[in-house]
């Protein structure tokens, strides 16, 4: 589904990613862990198409297309979804209205018919039930005045509604209490599907107790320095990121 090869990305003259390679197949859950400043969020933003990220080398293929050649809205329609680390407030714009505009924009771009308000509302109710969310969320403006936890839950709600093929969760666990964390994990687990892949970017192992990944990668200094199964996350938890650096040094020597 997704193949990143030797990706080099520069932001404002500074090299952030330096030769990152990653392959994600449909149905898989990949966790990306790593210390602060390793380039984890950059990876998410580059995949979603944020401006200001200069790709100086490497390629990203998504379902056989050159992902970097697509506009952010084209990527969304093609099934790429980024759950933001810091979800953005859009004052005055009703959450339901926003989601319907988004879903129908994607459907139009894919040549599918738009959902009318009844069909859309039905879908909304289904997803709310799965995520144990309150209706009240729908009537408020997009993220306006939401608590940190509400914003993150709203991201997961959007993901559930938009049904992407490739979902990237950028530190969705940060700032969540344990109940909210479980809720987010339940939402993700409910969406696990042989046709859908997840990239879960996280700083802590805690989330991975609830969303059990197929692969864990350690991102440091702009590339993936270690990959393994879920046990890698536990080792990291135990030894800290410095352990990776030491192992690398030992390997080099």
């Amino acid at each position: 589904m997704l193949k990143i090869e030797n990706l080099h990305v520069r932001i404002a003259g500074k090299d952030i990613l330096r030769g990152l390679s990653l392959e994600v197949k449909a149905g898989e859950v990949h966790a990306i862990m790593g210390p602060n400043g390793a380039g984890k969020s950059t990876l998410g933003n580059v995949l979603a198409g944020r401006e200001g990220y200069e790709v100086i080398e490497g390629s990203i293929r998504y379902e056989g297309q050159d992902l970097l050649g697509l506009e952010p809205e084209e990527r969304a329609a093609a099934g790429v979804f980024l759950a933001f680390q810091y979800p953005v407030e859009i004052p005055g714009v009703n959450n339901t209205y926003f989601l319907r505009a988004a879903l129908n924009a994607q459907r139009r771009r894919r040549g599918e018919s738009e959902l009318d308000s009844m069909q859309f509302l039905k879908r909304v109710r289904e997803k709310l039930a799965v995520l144990h969310l309150k209706d009240e969320l729908l009537h408020r403006a997009v993220n306006e005045g939401f608590s940190g936890g509400e914003k993150k839950r709203n991201e997961i709600f959007q993901m559930a509604l938009l049904e992407p093929k490739l979902a990237i969760l950028d530190e969705t666990d940060s700032g969540l209490d344990i109940d909210a964390l479980k809720m987010v994990a339940d939402g993700v687990n409910a969406m696990r599907d042989p046709a859908r892949a997840f990239i879960v970017i996280t700083h802590y192992q805690r989330l991975l107790d609830y969303i059990v990944p197929d692969y864990v990668h350690v991102l440091a200094d702009g590339r993936i320095v270690e990959s393994g199964d879920k046990s890698l996350a536990l080792k990291l938890e135990e030894h800290g990121y410095s352990w990776i650096a030491e192992r690398k040094l030992a390997g080099a020597a």
């Binding site: 879903l103 924009a105 938009l162």
Partner: protein
């Protein structure tokens, strides 16, 4: 031009002579006849005064409209006062000096294009985007549509229903003739002829406008709109509107200027007066989209308008809602004088400036009565090189104990070359008053745009969405169809604002 005088205008000149002779200025009448009688009063299609302004012109307009002597006199007084005034310079506007002698003060129904085929395609495209119905498009474009679209029957139906309710809704010209006592009692009672430079000018030369009278205890059975008044088509540049709601009466009035006028650098100086007696309620909504000039700031309407409501009675309420997207320059402060105890004034505004447009707009809330309340919600949007200023006065007079005001003033910037400015003036002379003012300035951030786009919404749609959200508080004050229109208007006006 033909040289024969129309049948209509002849008796008018006679009447004019009467009023003039009361002043002993016989020679002026001769002058009028000499200068205008032969050459310019032709037929209604092409009847236009040559540029220039003097007492003769004022008299000619009054005569042309068949006004009684007192009305001519009223105009002349306004004109004489105007001569002593200077244009206001306190607004944050760059206005090239206006040569008032270069303007023609009477251009009755202009001969427009004969069919839609003759209309500028760009204009038609705009109408299409706005979703204006086809017959309406023709009318807005100034095509002579009476033959195409028979709106007369529509108008007649409305008139009948209104007449049954006792509501008077007609052109100001008709009102002067048919309801002179009402007009005399209220005209100029809210905006005196000497009020300000442009109001004085309007008083002297106003061409037409609307007159609405809602008698005691009547709730107007429908929303009144200039759309439905046939003789409002091509109303001149100096409209005069007067709305009176008697005790316990209520009315909602819609003023749609959704047609971009193609005339360039035209001066538009209107005056609107509202009078609300005890327990009366007037809601006045405007969607203004006069021609804003081109992308380089060439042409466009100068929209210098005085709008004021007088909450004369106890518990009366006047509410202004405006969506201003057009005009090269807007100078406009719809205000409320809260004279009656417990009266309420409201102002909801969205003003958008794009390209080289300038707007200096806001409101005045004058609290005179006790326990009076006012609310101001002003939203300014600037894009391109647009300059947008909010200017508002909240004044609480000595006797206005228990007065309350809440002001919220938000600015949204799109791009880096535009400007937003806020000039709130607060004068409080009563210690029991509570006055609140909140102001914010925000930009459509890259984060917001990326967030929308990452969900599948294209950039231009994302801008519309964000702007629409910003204006929500004001849009919900508008009647449904107007709200839809206003939203579309913003979309059209902001095309190309990002990117």
């Amino acid at each position: 031009m033909a040289t024969n005088m129309t049948r209509e205008s002849e008796p008018l000149v006679l009447r004019d002579r009467e009023s003039v002779s009361s002043e002993g200025n016989e020679h002026i009448v001769e002058a009028i006849n000499r200068r205008y009688g032969a050459g310019f009063v032709t037929d209604i299609e092409t009847d236009t005064l040559p540029p220039g302004l003097n007492e003769d012109v004022v008299r000619w307009i009054s005569a042309r409209k068949g006004e009684p002597g007192w009305m001519t006199e009223w105009r002349l007084q306004a004109y004489r006062h105007w001569l002593t005034m200077i244009p206001p310079e306190w607004a944050k506007l760059r206005i090239a000096p206006i040569d008032f002698q270069a303007i023609s003060y009477f251009a009755a129904p202009k001969e427009g294009p004969k069919s839609l085929a003759e209309v500028d395609p760009k204009l038609l495209e705009t109408y299409e985007k706005l979703g204006v119905p086809l017959h309406e498009r023709a009318r807005l474009a100034g095509v002579a549509v009476d033959a195409v679209f028979d709106s007369v029957s529509v108008g007649t139906t409305f008139r009948k229903e209104l007449a049954e309710a006792g509501v008077i809704f007609c052109s100001m010209s008709e009102a002067v003739k048919e309801h002179p006592d009402l007009v005399r009692a209220y005209l100029g009672s809210v905006v005196p002829t000497s009020d300000n430079y442009f109001a004085a000018l309007n008083s002297a030369v106003f061409s037409d406008g609307s007159f609405v009278f809602i008698p005691k205890g009547v709730r107007c059975p429908m929303e009144l709109s200039t759309y439905f008044r046939i003789n409002a088509i091509n109303t001149g540049q100096f409209e005069r509107t007067l709305i009176v709601a008697e005790e316990g009466a209520s009315v909602s009035y819609l003023e749609g200027c959704t047609a971009p006028m193609r005339d360039e650098n035209q001066l538009h100086a209107a005056v609107v007066e509202l009078v609300a007696l005890d327990d009366a309620d007037i809601k006045y909504s405007t969607v203004q989209n006069w021609y804003p000039g081109d992308e380089n700031g060439l042409g466009g309407i100068y929209n210098f308008v005085t709008k004021r409501g007088d909450c004369r009675g106890v518990r009366s309420k006047i509410s202004w809602t405006q969506v201003e997207t057009g005009s090269a320059i807007t100078w406009k402060y719809p205000s409320c004088v809260l004279r009656g105890d417990e009266s309420v004034g409201e102002f909801h505004s969205v003003a958008l400036t794009h390209h080289h447009q300038q707007a200096d707009t806001g409101t005045k809330m004058i609290h005179i009565g006790r326990n009076t309340k006012s609310k101001i919600i002003a939203k300014g949007i600037s894009a391109g090189r647009g300059q947008n200023s909010y200017r508002g006065l909240v004044k609480v007079e000595k006797g206005a104990s228990g007065a309350r005001n809440y002001t919220q003033c938000d600015s949204l910037l799109i791009g880096k070359k535009c400007g937003a400015h806020t000039f709130p003036y607060i004068e409080v002379k009563n210690p029991s008053a509570i006055v609140e003012h909140e102001a914010t300035t925000s930009k459509i951030s890259d984060d917001q745009l990326f967030y929308c786009r990452s969900r599948g919404i294209a950039e231009e749609d994302a801008v519309s969405l964000i702007v629409d959200g910003f204006c929500r508080q004001v849009f919900r004050e508008l009647p449904m169809e107007f709200a839809v229109e206003a939203k579309k208007l913003l979309e059209v006006s902001l095309e190309g604002a990002v990117g």
